[in-house]
Point group: C2
Chain length 158, copies 2
Amino acid sequence: MEQQQLFVRVALHAWEVNVRRATTIFDKFTDEQLLTEIAPGKNTPFYLLGHLIAVHDRMLPLLGLGEAQYPQLVEAFINNPDKAIQEVPTVKELRDWWTNIHEALAGHFKQLTPAEWLQKHTAMTDEDYEKDPTRNRLAVLINRTNHLSYHIGQLVLA
Amino acid sequence: MEQQQLFVRVALHAWEVNVRRATTIFDKFTDEQLLTEIAPGKNTPFYLLGHLIAVHDRMLPLLGLGEAQYPQLVEAFINNPDKAIQEVPTVKELRDWWTNIHEALAGHFKQLTPAEWLQKHTAMTDEDYEKDPTRNRLAVLINRTNHLSYHIGQLVLA
């Protein structure tokens, strides 16, 4: 196997493992448990579910793979903390969207070649990319995997 | 820059960012805060500090870079849960060892070539590696970065 392909496979594997781990955790929570704070005054798993869908959804435009599917989540789950916004989707909707966004991403990811993974993401200018070519699609994938692990660490405390 | 070098730089950058993030958090904790459970019945930051040193220390032999420097941590911080083992190092010792192990790893990491990052780690046989060449040094680095993020997510709840 080509070296570049190996690098991509390693990074994708880490992403997939963590998505599966989070899916298992969210699946185990009852709807009521989803709405119970992880620790007093901390986020609910419901908020983290919405937050992770919103962040992963934004990977589509960021990686140049398409438009965000759930832009309505940004206000409640990225721009604001837990319980600040009254109008939020139902638990059922979030559970469905979690599945959808990861299927959509997986479909795109398997199409990208190693060279495409090293292309700049859309949030940076050509000039910035010239200066620092490590700010590419692969960096986004690795950073989002770490972000996901970070919140999995919190979910397991619930 | 060569593609392989780019891949390695992206993965190393993620590791370094997370080590710095954890260092900042541990530095901010007073010795007393280190010994206070993150949430009732959960780990102390002291345990997570020892756990992360022990896990990162084992990267040296796992990556074929040298012997573990703090094997005495394994029993208290990997094989057993928090507060199960009475004999543990002092807070001062752990703080020093945290610095030492990350300096040691950084020194080794900057020597490795992209091809060396794709070599198998020492915990697997040649036969296993033949079957799955993604189980290499880079996979260890990416996995340990995710593991670190996971515990950083818990530390920030303290």
